[in-house]
Symmetry: C2
Amino acid sequence: MGLHSTADAAAIRASIRSGAFGGHTSGMAPGKLQCNLAILPAAHALDFLRFCQRNPKPCPVVGVSETGDPMLPTLGVDIDIRTDVPRYRIFRDGVLTGEVTDIRDLWTDDLVSVALGCSFTFENALVRAGIPVRHIEDGVNVPMFRTNIPLVPAGPFNGHMVVTMRPIPEAMVDKAHGISARFPQAHGAPIATGDPRALGIADLAKPDYGDAVAVKPGEVPVFWACGVTPQNVLRDARLPLCITHSPGHMLISDVAEDAETPIYQS
Amino acid sequence: MGLHSTADAAAIRASIRSGAFGGHTSGMAPGKLQCNLAILPAAHALDFLRFCQRNPKPCPVVGVSETGDPMLPTLGVDIDIRTDVPRYRIFRDGVLTGEVTDIRDLWTDDLVSVALGCSFTFENALVRAGIPVRHIEDGVNVPMFRTNIPLVPAGPFNGHMVVTMRPIPEAMVDKAHGISARFPQAHGAPIATGDPRALGIADLAKPDYGDAVAVKPGEVPVFWACGVTPQNVLRDARLPLCITHSPGHMLISDVAEDAETPIYQS
């Protein structure tokens, strides 16, 4: 289909909207903020925003639509959330009922879209700084683990944090911490470093989601809050309807990933 | 009354709750995050949180209560928002109708409290770094100005940004920028430096709020987003009821002002 990863965000979204592209967005539109997505009924939106405010590391809110309006102007030009994400998951009463590439037929006047920062942002910064990111080198998904870290509840939203793990050479751990801390809109600094058992993780070779990667001699496992957290929390809240992106199929915004605030300035 | 500025946050809140202290909170409980306050009906809370998300520099949300619950556990131990702020302003339909030290008789099951970061946080950091802060040196209020910078609207909330101005020695401007940028929960980096006319400010000697301070030779006026912005926006939205803190009479939280996230960990 001729779409290069370096195409600009608008061109990629146009390709997604037309149906020409429907794949993973990792590495696309370099420098642009990519987003996790949660669409839910307005009746639950205040509680969900409270939940995100109380759990900002796994749930950094970068955009919120008007109720019933499918556009997200604060994240870019002509972003229609019904068509501009490559793949969506539909949950009804907490059950995954389908995976689609277009949600125009599901859109109603009472839906609110919430965009959340994602780890692609700080991973790009780590790579630029010469810090190896194992799962990118290996061409697999990042390993993700459920933890024993309780979230701060709000309304029907509650649960435990999911984390990603990246093995970092011991001498580079402080640098990785400092770099990712500069991106609070994308999970920020690691939430833990070292012993996985302190987080209730029994075996790094058996991630709950994604793929296992090797932790080599001289490397330390470093754990970051993960955007799967809100996905699980939304599922467990058993809302009548909730729509998310499919893993890896993110919303590509027009906002620079190193912007101080995630508000598009035309 | 024997209350020292170095008393801990809980002791100061107890003194406020008992009525023993009702003054300005500047410089009190050093190292603790102080907050602007907005209390509004739940029917408008989703729009207000959307407004804050879209205008994070003037409106950095650091805490949101449950609907109808006067406690703010994510900001500290036993914080009762009805009694623990030294002075409140009551607005009805956009009109200031009173200033009180206790809002227990006004509290209803449909109110939501929103706490917002305040400039005390980065000012403390500037002072620690040896950067002079003129209005603190002069013992007056910071000068504040209305600007021509439009806010991003949400529901009934809209308007223009209010900024504070601090004259900074030219050689220290970059350092002041870098320090305040580390506090996104407290207005973050300056929004402008230099010519006030670029912001629609006619005369630095005539602030719209607070007190004028001298800009001396070799100093540059530096402008930060200001917490008066949401106060004006709330007033102009003419909600049936809205309660704010009185200027300078802030909520003192138990959260460290340099915490990565404004969530109290007991």
